[in-house]
């Protein structure tokens, strides 16, 4: 028995489902990001990633296999010349699904599915982010340390004094309380 397809079935029949997924894949490769329902996005992701893997392989056989799904030759051309080589250093995970909440009208949960940025751009973005964070920490760190050092000794002394006072107060209170209790008993 063949393994059932993962995820919900779409459309009115197998042919309709194939057509819808093919159209979604075409739109995704044409525009880079599309807004659709969560169910369709989740069904589209494995198909789109398989097509991108074909694009990375890049030979004629792969192109013909992609053309059986994506009928638009210009989209297949951009897929093989731009999208595929972008992901040369990435093993899968070419798309990202972000949920954007329910749709007005039928309350269907919607999602944005998009092609992730090429690895080089992402590395640059992460590096700039890390540099910014490091700069912030360096700017903030010396002040904080200095303040801590200045406050450290007096705070300890004060707390120690307070603690002793509090302990004495508690002792007094407890003594009074016990004496009161004894008084009531008598």
């Amino acid at each position: 028995m063949p393994t059932p397809t993962k995820g919900p079935r779409l459309g009115g029949g197998p042919a309709h489902e194939r057509l819808m997924l093919a159209n979604l894949a075409t739109a995704l490769f044409e525009h880079g990001r599309i807004t659709t329902t969560e169910a369709k996005a989740k069904r589209l992701r494995p198909l789109a990633e398989r097509l991108i893997t074909f694009a990375k392989r890049g030979d004629l056989h792969a192109r013909r296999r992609v053309l059986t799904v994506v009928r638009d030759k210009s989209v297949v051309h951009t897929l093989f010349t731009e999208i595929g080589p972008n992901y040369a250093g990435r093993h899968g995970g070419y798309t990202r699904i972000t949920k954007i909440g329910p749709r007005k009208g039928d309350n269907a949960p919607m999602a944005v599915i998009e092609l992730v940025e090429p690895l080089a751009e992402q590395v640059v973005a992460e590096a700039t982010g890390a540099a910014k964070r490091a700069a912030k920490e360096q700017a903030a760190a010396p002040k904080v340390e200095a303040v801590e050092v200045e406050q450290a000794t007096p705070v300890e002394d004060a707390s120690g004094v307070e603690e002793t006072v509090v302990v004495e107060a508690v002792a007094e209170e407890s003594g009074e309380g016990s004496s009161d209790a004894e008084g009531t008993k008598e």
């Binding site: 972000t98 949920k99 954007i100 909440g101 944005v112």
Partner: protein
Amino acid sequence: MAVPKRKTSRSNTRSRRSQWKTSAPNLVTCARCNEKKLSHTACPTCGTYAKRRVLDV
């Protein structure tokens, strides 16, 4: 064809419908704009998810 013998009483109807309940959506505070939003979902107010721009607001 099998058909109901008796009219469903008002009491039975109402006891059946007493189980129709709604549940509150799981809202969390957006880290960026401090507005309430659905968890694991892009913020509809500022249009971001995980510090990434998702929606044009």
